[in-house]
């Protein structure tokens, strides 16, 4: 049946073949990514490809008077649906009780990410608001104008006399209609060419501090459904057996004992492993224990992280394979510097570890169409992948965009892993037999797609006056884009996701060199909340802090003195320092640290206060965060994303680390891979810089500064910079 599968059902590099054929998608992502890197803040000025009828595209109004917003952006907890609904509601003047948001897909012209030039639909790089800023306000305004036009026609009054408020269209004569009553007629009105948008001083939704998320109730009473909660007639549950090492292949397997178990529906081979299908999760899990697999590990990655990191460290001392930035003459400036600081930083692999373990469901239908339910963060790509594995064309694939219990980047995966597992399992079961592939925590932890491990070799020099004259950073690690549909974003040997955050260092340093050596390791990697900045910000901001100390300068003043051309960087730094009381003395045993970083065009500074006892006994007590993300659409969600980003980043630098021994992942569950827990969460205060600039994202940029801010506070306490992460394990080492 599965004759289209590769001969050995390889789970290594050959799975890329599934997607490398989708040339259109590949080119689209690459072009889009370059646009995003080049001019993210101006991305929304890209003209929309179509003058679409809003009622048929973005703002559906049902006869039952519901406003159903079709979102181009994926909701994984970060509030993109709420943000987009806010933009629509600002212009539409509906009532929030009417609002329902669903995921749109299947039409790149409508839903392509405008921050990526509209070339592909997808959610990433904290672009949801910049992509949607004009698109969804215009959709709301056009829909409103068409509702007014329909009412004017029905009531035979001038459109200018009609008002709209809280989902009701009214005329002074007393005539009124609900949106739902006018929806059909409104959809037939001419689509206005250029609807004026409300001026800033008339905004009631955008920037409102009291506006709360419309989707919280279902998250407090169990009603919100995720992919794991799907209820479809005849739905079975499949659990996966994956290769024990990355790149290992199935030699043979014996499923006879599993199939003999009551409730096991089937055991099928997919391109990525073996799916054990049961009538429920528990049965499938019991069946899984009974499957015997022989693996061929010939092509498997057999190195452990100790060997890999040793190789990286050695490579970091050699010249880099490619140069990402080269200002002045860094080697010469370092050679003549008065004081030089140098060292190696080590960053471990990290797991996204969302609490909802990865999943997707699929059904092949009698008519040849395919339904796929899941966390469709890259809908174009997933439609193409499902079509390819399902033996049809993308237009025959219906996506059901589910909300997910987190993602942090993991649901935007170029090999469409879960989609391929679900669709190939459904295809093996046959038409009309839906199946949900549900990973366990162990599958999730050992399933690959990690934040890559990196080593940075850094060297920086001060002159006699304590000015930074040169900085050199050589980054060694895997490329996220390499070998994926995103490979075209690599130019001159530089994957921008490996070096971002270092190449755009804002400080006025006359001699600055950033080199990159991309390594060949068969451990699947991926973007992880704030991507390159997860490691570059740490290396750069702890180094700058150490330079300040070596120059006997205050860390805030020292940074400010090098930020003359970067007022937004300087702005958040000053605000955070002021709100934190940077100049005020702290009680004994308490220490402060600061870090500043721009990622994805959002500027964030964080000041932390720690209590340090001794050894590795310390606690992060307080974080004061200042953020400049342009126009603040949902201030309370900006705060929420900063708080969450700080907690997410803090867990990672304190104690998260994925290691391998002999090619096998050592961690399986939350007992050994440990995200932050509540007792470790500091008090967080977030201050938003008032701004009229276009909005930028907040999902990721809160993450990068927390690590270096904590490390800088620890250096203030101990005199030592922690260059090897995670901190707790390495602090007293």
């Amino acid at each position: 049946m599965l004759q289209f599968l590769p001969k050995h059902n390889a789970v290594g590099p050959t799975r890329r073949q599934f997607l490398l054929g989708t040339a259109v998608t590949t080119a689209g992502f690459a072009v889009g990514y370059r646009l995003m890197m080049a001019a993210p803040a101006n991305a929304q000025t890209t003209p929309a490809a179509v003058q679409a009828n809003p009622f048929q595209t973005y703002v559906e109004i049902t006869p039952e008077n519901r406003i159903v917003i079709h979102s181009s952006q994926f909701e994984m907890g970060q509030g993109s649906y709420f943000g987009i609904a806010t933009l629509v509601m600002e212009e539409l003047d509906g009532a929030w009780a009417q609002v329902h948001v669903v995921g749109g897909y299947g039409n790149t012209a409508l839903y392509g990410n405008l921050a990526w030039g509209g070339a592909a639909q997808g959610t990433g790089g904290s672009t949801s608001m910049s992509s949607s800023w004009e698109r969804y306000r215009k959709a709301g305004a056009a829909a409103r104008a068409m509702l007014v036009a329909a009412a004017a026609q029905r009531w035979d009054v001038p459109a200018g006399e009609i008002t709209v408020a809280s989902g009701v269209v009214s005329h002074a004569s007393g005539m009124q209609a609900r949106f739902g009553d006018l929806a059909k007629a409104a959809a037939g009105m001419p689509v206005p060419d250029d609807v004026p948008l409300k001026p800033r001083d008339k905004w009631a939704q955008i920037g409102s501090d009291s506006l709360k998320r419309y989707d919280s109730a279902g998250k407090t009473n169990g009603a919100q459904t995720y992919t794991i909660d799907l209820k479809i007639d005849g739905l079975n549950t499949a659990v996966m057996i994956h290769p024990p090492k990355f790149g290992a292949e199935i030699e043979s397997f014996d499923a006879s004992k599993a199939k003999a178990l009551d409730g096991i529906v089937d055991v099928v081979q997919t391109p990525r492993g073996i799916a054990v299908v049961g009538r429920d999760m528990w049965t499938a899990l019991k069946g899984r224990d009974l499957v015997e697999v022989t693996w061929n590990e010939e092509k498997a990655e057999r190195r452990g992280t100790a060997e890999i990191m040793a190789e990286y460290t050695k490579a970091a001392d050699d010249p880099g394979a490619a140069t990402a930035r080269d200002d002045g003459n860094t080697p010469a400036a370092l050679a003549s510097a008065e004081k030089v600081i140098q060292g190696h930083y080590e960053f471990p692999y990290l797991v996204h570890a969302s609490i909802e373990p990865l999943n997707a469901a699929a059904r092949i239908n009698e008519d040849g169409t395919i339904d796929v339910w899941g966390g469709h963060q890259m809908p174009d790509l997933y439609q193409a992948a499902a079509a390819q594995v399902g033996g049809t064309t993308p237009d025959k694939v219906r996506l059901h965009v589910m909300k997910t219990g987190g993602s942090f980047g993991r649901r935007a995966v170029s090999d469409a892993d879960l989609i391929i597992e679900a669709v190939s399992t459904a295809r093996a079961l046959g038409p009309g037999k839906p199946v949900k592939v549900q990973w366990t925590r162990e599958n999730d932890m050992r399933g690959g797609r990690y934040r890559p491990a990196y080593v940075h070799a850094v060297e920086a020099g001060l002159d006699k006056e304590g000015n930074v004259v040169a900085l050199h950073d050589h980054i060694v690690g895997q490329s996220i884009a390499g070998g994926s549909p995103f490979a075209a974003m690599i130019e001159n040997g530089i994957d921008p996701t490996s070096v971002e955050g270092a190449t755009n260092l804002p400080y006025a340093i006359p001699n600055l060199k950033v080199e990159l050596t991309t390594t060949d390791v068969n451990i699947p990697v991926l973007w992880w909340r704030s991507v390159g900045s997860t490691h570059t910000a740490y290396a750069m901001e702890t180094l700058i802090d150490e330079l300040a100390a070596a120059a006997n300068r205050d860390p805030v003043d020292f940074r400010l003195s090098m930020l003359g051309h970067h007022p937004r960087h300087a702005g958040v730094l000053k605000l955070a320092a002021e709100k934190a009381g940077w100049d005020k003395p702290l009680p004994e045993g308490r220490f402060r640290g600061v870090a500043l970083h721009e990622s994805l065009s959002t500027y964030v500074a964080e000041v932390v206060e720690i209590t340090f006892n001794d050894g590795n006994d310390f606690k992060v007590d307080r974080v004061v965060c200042a953020v400049d993300c342009g126009t603040a659409i949902n201030p309370d969600q900006i705060r929420a994303q900063m708080e969450g980003g700080i907690g997410f980043g803090l867990g990672a630098i304190l104690q998260e680390e994925l290691t391998l021994t002999g090619g096998v992942v050592d961690q399986e569950n939350y007992d050994t891979y440990m995200p932050l827990r509540i007792e470790q969460m500091p008090r967080v205060e977030v201050h938003i810089v008032p701004s009229d600039e276009p909005p930028t994202g907040v999902g990721e940029p809160g993450v990068p500064p927390i690590g270096p801010a904590v490390a800088n506070a620890l250096r203030a306490a101990t005199g030592k910079t922690i260059r090897k992460l995670p901190i707790i394990k390495n602090l007293s080492a």
């Binding site: 994984m76 907890g77 970060q78 509030g79 709360k212 998320r213 989707d215 919280s216 109730a217 279902g218 998250k219 407090t220 009473n221 169990g222 009603a223 919100q224 459904t225 995720y226 794991i228 909660d229 209820k231 549950t237 429920d280 999760m281 528990w282 019991k286 570890a353 969302s354 609490i355 909802e356 373990p357 909300k403 997910t404 219990g405 987190g406 549900q438 366990t440 925590r441 309370d636 969600q637 929420a640 708080e643 969450g644 700080i646 907690g647 997410f648 803090l650 867990g651 569950n669 939350y670 007992d671 995200p675 932050l676 827990r677 509540i678 007792e679 969460m681 500091p682 008090r683 967080v684």
Partner: protein
């Protein structure tokens, strides 16, 4: 056959007695508010009340709950539970929301036992509930607020 009370209703289930209560509730009964996160009592997403005690349902066998009274997120009621749910939404605590059923079940148990919890009380009662979105800051604030409202 196991007989127990679920959200105030008498139930019987004819399943493998070793089946974790989590899967019995989700797949057997069809109440999906209780979540699977780790299967190892490490994340707290599956927290339910067994005779009022917060319990990880992923590590509780159905065979062991004969005669017990089980409450899931769908069965949260009463002043404490309803106040917590209201404050949770008002404070915009949830982000993805996936862990929040478990968080709320633990918070209800905490406030039932300790009406005026300190930060330390909150930390120790809620430590078993992971939130990967790290909404902890608001969870803490929402528990204090709930305690204040219940006092008046």
């Amino acid at each position: 056959m196991v007989a127990f009370t679920l959200n105030g209703e008498a139930r019987t289930l004819d399943v493998d007695p070793e089946m974790p209560l989590l899967w019995a509730i989700r797949d057997g009964i069809g109440l999906t508010g209780t979540k699977f996160g780790c299967g190892l009592a490490q994340c707290g997403a599956c927290t339910v009340h067994v005779n009022g005690m917060p319990t990880r349902s992923c590590q509780t066998a159905v065979g062991d709950i004969e005669g017990a009274s089980i409450t899931t997120i769908e069965g949260v009621s009463g002043k404490i539970g309803e106040t917590i749910q209201a404050v949770w939404a008002e404070f915009d605590v949830p982000q993805c929301g996936y862990c929040q059923s478990g968080q709320i079940m633990s918070a209800v148990a905490l406030l039932t036992e300790t009406p005026k919890p300190t930060d330390d009380d909150i930390d120790s009662a809620m430590s078993g509930n992971l939130c990967r979105c790290a909404t902890y800051h608001r969870i803490r604030a929402a528990i204090h607020e709930t305690a204040n409202r219940l006092e008046t």
